[in-house]
């Protein structure tokens, strides 16, 4: 599409800021992790959209194809996705453990309990 060639970066920025906003403005820890995930996806989109070459195709070598998209960002993001879910699981495990200890997953309530002690 001809229309602004920087559109992909703007969407990335919007997604990134949405995730950032969720992380800083919400108190619920699960919601914060969701926010981090959106932030993370924005970085994925950033890499993958940069790797796209106009007229290129998927980087799987075949006869009669001259132009491929850039395979390197694909490799980085592929592993990052799986690492991302593993670290998300780690974060969720911490949330579960925090609920065991405090009985809540709201940041402000946890802080209030801490201050009471």
């Amino acid at each position: 599409m001809e229309f602004p060639g920087l559109f992909n970066y703007w969407i990335v920025v919007v997604l990134m800021m949405t995730g950032f906003y969720i992380v800083i403005a919400h108190n619920n820890l699960v919601k914060k992790i969701v926010g981090l995930n959106i932030f993370q996806v924005s970085v994925f989109v950033f890499y993958i959209s940069m790797a796209k070459v106009e007229g290129g195709t998927a980087p799987i070598l075949a006869e009669g194809i001259a132009q491929y998209s850039n395979p390197l960002p694909h490799v980085l993001i592929l592993t990052a996705i799986v690492v991302g879910v593993a670290t998300t699981a780690l974060g969720l495990a911490l949330v579960v453990r925090i609920r065991d200890a405090y009985g809540t997953v709201e940041d402000d309530e946890i802080e209030a309990q801490e201050n009471d002690l």
């Binding site: 229309f3 060639g5 920087l6 559109f7 992909n8 970066y9 969407i11 920025v13 919007v14 997604l15 800021m17 949405t18 950032f20 906003y21 403005a25 108190n27 619920n28 699960v30 969701v34 926010g35 959106i38 994925f44 993958i48 959209s49 790797a51 070459v53 106009e54 998927a58 980087p59 799987i60 070598l61 075949a62 998209s69 850039n70 395979p71 390197l72 960002p73 694909h74 490799v75 993001i77 592929l78 592993t79 996705i81 799986v82 690492v83 991302g84 593993a86 998300t88 699981a89 969720l92 495990a93 911490l94 949330v95 579960v96 453990r97 609920r99 065991d100 997953v105 709201e106 402000d108």
Partner: protein, 323 residues
């Protein structure tokens, strides 16, 4: 392009919605949209991974957490949304200003496409001998990165086990009567049970196909591991976690968790012992491309094992928590 805009809209919906169950469902849709977007952008391997991980496992894990905590977000008391909004807007504006110097979408002359990428595309067919350049770069050229990332997954699974894996007094749920579950709730649904039983072998078979065919088409250890694990997760959801644990116990998953990374690092060390560099597979067999192929197959298998074991371990650890 419109897909990207759609992702932005879902992002806003996630930020606004207070019901966490809805939020988790929306993130599932968000991931699936992302996967479609990656296909459009030629990143088939990435799309594969995102579809299996983001729309599958991540959603299940989030739901598991909601079941253990709460599914409704409380309205914040001490919140300063305006301050946060201002901060976000300013940061976003600065970032947008930064993008004005970026190369346009799809430009072949962009710096990112002219560093090492042309070399991978032109030489990997001769040096590695595999059609899928992503696999060549992943397992051979950048084998170190992938080794590190496999260890991160290993470490994360260990971390989950350390944090909530230990049975605490009264926290490990009692072994319930499996028959009770079959007569009540989701497990009562005959269609679900029959269809999932039919699907299970196909999922496992497909995972193996993705594992071994990853050198030629989209796929590889990361995707295969996740798909393999999803079969066990499906079984545990539809039938019972304890039944699933009887099929593949904690000892087995922990063994494979460690065996996968050992296989990866061991392949690298074998290259050292043969007198070459760490993870330089060319030395393994008499011919360069055959050696590379063997090495890549071995490390991808290691990755697959660790990823599958990690996902199964993480899921079972979450599922066997008592609320």
């Amino acid at each position: 392009m419109s897909l990207m805009a759609f992702m932005g809209v879902i992002g806003f919906a996630v930020a606004r919605l207070r019901n966490l169950f809805g939020v988790v469902m929306l993130t599932g849709i968000f991931s699936l949209t992302g996967a479609v977007l990656y296909v459009v952008l030629d990143a088939v391997d990435v799309a594969f991974t995102e579809a299996a991980v983001g729309a599958g496992i991540a959603t299940v894990l989030m739901l598991g957490t909601l079941a253990l905590t709460t599914s409704e977000e409380k309205p914040a008391s001490d919140n300063k949304p305006l301050l946060s909004l201002l901060l976000v807007t300013v940061t976003g504006a600065v970032l947008i200003y930064g993008t004005l110097d970026m190369p346009y979408y799809g430009e072949a002359t962009a710096p990112i496409n002219n560093h090492v990428a042309p070399r991978y595309l032109e030489e990997s067919g001769r040096e590695i001998g595999l059609p899928n350049v992503v696999t060549s770069v992943l397992a051979s050229y950048r084998g170190y990165d992938t080794l590190g990332e496999t260890f991160v997954i290993f470490t994360a699974a260990c971390g989950v086990l350390l944090i909530i894996g230990r049975p605490q007094r009264g926290r490990r749920r009692a072994r319930r009567d499996a028959n009770w579950d079959i007569e009540h709730g989701i497990r009562k649904n005959v269609i679900l049970r029959v269809v999932s039983k039919l699907l299970l072998p196909l999922i496992l078979l497909f995972a193996l196909y993705v594992q071994w065919h990853g050198d030629f088409g989209p796929g590889g250890g990361f995707q295969a591991g996740v798909i393999f694990a999803s079969a066990f997760i499906l079984y545990a959801i539809i039938f019972d976690v304890d039944l699933a644990r009887a099929v593949i116990g904690p000892k087995v998953t922990r063994f494979f968790l460690a065996l996968g990374v050992t296989l990866y690092a061991g392949t690298g060390t074998a290259c050292l012992l043969f007198g070459s560099n760490f993870l330089d597979y060319s030395i393994l067999l008499d011919e360069q491309t055959r050696g590379q192929h063997l090495g890549i197959t071995l490390v991808e298998f290691g990755v697959g094992m660790t990823v599958a074991a990690a996902m199964v371990t993480i899921f079972f650890t979450f599922a066997s928590q008592e609320r």
